[in-house]
Subunit: 413 residues, 2 copies
């Protein structure tokens, strides 16, 4: 048995205990929050070593930013864990039930998924966020983070294990894979003990998981998001929303990547928009008509740009001859995350929400709202871009399964 197989076995045993741990899960979560606060200095010093390594490896500022922990971010992490403790416990809730004509009493109840694997990149806060939510839903968790944040992650995971153990739950409820080799990732993707594997990271990671996993997975987070600015709309509102969706936090999955503009409004709208985006130095990559309107300073958009999640101050812009062409463009290039229409047409608003096949479809609002917290789910473990099991921001219910329990008095069929 390899080390990771052994972790799977231990996780399965821990999951049996967690499935009926009820209130003790909250006790454990509060103990986790306490231990993170009490050991802030240790976490920061491990994080400093990770940061030194990353800086020496000449890694991008955005990456360093995601990797960096502070006294405040650790406090926020602990607060997040406490908030998870206050969520309603979904486990053992009866979802439906009936007494059948033959007298069988049947009920469908919510149960934990069992063992959840999380494979993630450089954000150490995922370690605590994901573990807390999985634990609250009664699941054991096996974490594997990126190599740049391994010391921070391991430190946080070990503290959490101590906390869980201190309240009398199995420490193996939370396990962390320190081996950051490609082999350990592949092994986790094929670990039969996993009831689900959730990758959290960029398109490269997601694709690798889709290709290599032999366990059920939930694809998350790749967001090639679109906004369509319709022929009739409040142009100020459109500028505000596009600016917000593109520039408020370009590195996240719900940020805008491609803007589609109806040809009738484009000549007036695009110059207004450009003026606003110029303040943030957004690079526009435009179709021919966009360039005819905005001038040659606009980079020509390539076919590849329409499919690209820039995650940066770059916006692809296409002027479309009709609403239907906008729908077709979205159907062709969208990753199914979040799309918005800015319109004053009731008919088009209705058609857009009905026809656009994405996890979140907006009328007259920024795509940036696609988030578990914003949607009122309490906390999220990622944003699913697949249609199976969960779609859009995943809350605690999405970390559960169900089972049928049937009480009889000797019935046979």
């Amino acid at each position: 048995m390899t080390e990771i197989e052994l972790m799977g076995k231990k996780a399965k045993s821990a999951a049996v205990v967690l499935a009926t741990a009820r209130n003790m899960k909250n006790t454990a979560l509060n103990a986790i929050a306490d231990i993170l606060i009490d050991n802030t200095d240790e976490i920061l010093s491990e994080n400093a070593i990770d940061l030194a390594g990353a800086k020496a490896a000449d890694i991008s500022d955005a990456f360093i930013d995601r990797l960096t922990l502070t006294r405040n971010s650790i406090a926020a992490m602990a607060e997040g864990v406490r908030k998870v403790a206050t969520l309603d416990d979904p486990i053992e809730k009866v979802i439906s039930g009936a007494t059948l004509p033959n007298g069988l009493e049947i009920k469908k109840v919510r149960v934990p998924l069992g063992v959840i694997g999380i494979i993630y990149e450089s954000r150490p806060n995922v370690t605590a966020d994901a573990a807390a939510l999985c634990l609250k839903a009664g699941n054991a968790i096996i974490l594997r983070g990126g190599k740049e944040s391994v010391r921070s992650n391991k430190c946080i995971a070990n503290l959490m294990r101590k906390a869980v153990k201190s309240v009398g739950l199995p420490e193996d409820s939370i396990q962390f894979i320190s081996d950051t080799s490609r082999e350990s990732a592949t092994e986790l993707m094929r670990l039969k003990a996993l009831d689900v594997l959730i990758p959290r990271g960029g398109a490269g990671l997601i694709n690798s998981v889709v290709e290599n996993a032999r366990v059920p997975i939930i694809q998350t987070g790749v967001g090639n998001c679109h906004i369509y600015v319709d022929k009739t709309c409040d142009m100020e509102m459109a500028v505000d929303i596009v600016n917000n969706a593109k520039t408020s936090k370009p590195s996240v999955c719900n940020a805008l990547e491609t803007l589609l503009v109806h040809k009738d409004i484009a000549p007036v709208f695009l110059p207004k928009l450009k003026e606003r985006l110029d303040r943030k130095n957004v690079e526009i990559r435009g179709c021919d008509i966009t360039r005819a309107i905005l001038g040659d300073s606009v980079v020509p958009a390539t076919e590849e740009d329409w499919s690209t999640e820039f995650l940066d101050y770059i916006l692809a812009v296409r002027v479309v001859p009709s609403f239907n062409v906008a729908l077709e463009h979205i159907a062709t290039y969208s990753s199914g995350h979040s799309e918005a229409i800015i319109t004053d047409s009731y008919e088009n608003a209705k058609k857009f929400t009905l026809n656009v096949d994405s996890a979140a479809v907006y009328v007259n609002a920024s795509t940036r709202f696609t988030d578990g917290g914003e949607f009122g789910l309490g906390a999220e473990v990622g944003i699913s871009t697949q249609k199976l099991h969960a779609r859009g921001p995943m809350g605690i219910n999405d970390l559960t399964s169900t089972k049928f329990i049937i009480y009889g008095t000797g019935q046979v069929r």
Copy 2:
């Protein structure tokens, strides 16, 4: 673009129409029922050719039985399709909703999964059953059946396509892959256009799909089901239930495979049970204690027997020293389908339903009830043995996904 890729593309286009087809889906289903009845002779003559081929290939009686269509079974198939038409349409139902503090109106609505692949073995009735349920839930479907039933399947699929077209929906809502090579199966398992692939068949097929699929799948149907006969129980009831679960239809996934008996009751219970099972010539493969009680005519059970889904008149029997050992045995060997306890102990009944981690857990009833029809789901597309998305008998809601629709008035974040 290969032929199967082209099917995927056509299915995606059809799915867009089906997503908002509403009542027309019922019109199509009734047209399908009509066309199946009207063309019974043609279906039977194609089925006769399949049967002749299978008989020449010296295939088992059970297999021939599954492959055989009759005037009655075609009528039942058509009736099943009509029944699906009467089910509530799950699509566009609002599951939850709220107006957020910032004024965003958010609702979560049920939408089709999109494109569903079904890969199945020799039962031609799956062609109509699966297509009807997928269509009702607004999904396009790509079917690939086994080579032994290819003429029957193709005939049924082509009739259904005609019917769907006749009411004005896209005929590519239902597509059938006539190529029964291993390559066509593998290609379907990797077809990006699929939102989900559902295999229906034996363990070999399921394992091949788990290994080869690169699209989301739902594992179905492998049932290594257990019954535990507790120390205190109604022994007559226990004999009835075990006999029913093993012998009423041994070839199906909810049939009993391994019986666990508490040591205190075994010496009296096992001889009574054997007497009943002998009437159906059930082969018992027993542990040492079972053989000590029932005699050497009982075949010794091997380690492999505990993991085997016999699907035949064979029963593995183990005498256990305690309730907890029974729970451990089930945790080790069960495929997570259906398990039952026969007991008069309230405490053990409660503990069994809480601790056994299977899709359906019974007290004092036969495992044979695990079925969409029996559970009141109207119709089923298989029985999921995984925990993601759906677990146990899958009804029409399990063929859907959700999306968030958000109405704003210019909100930015």
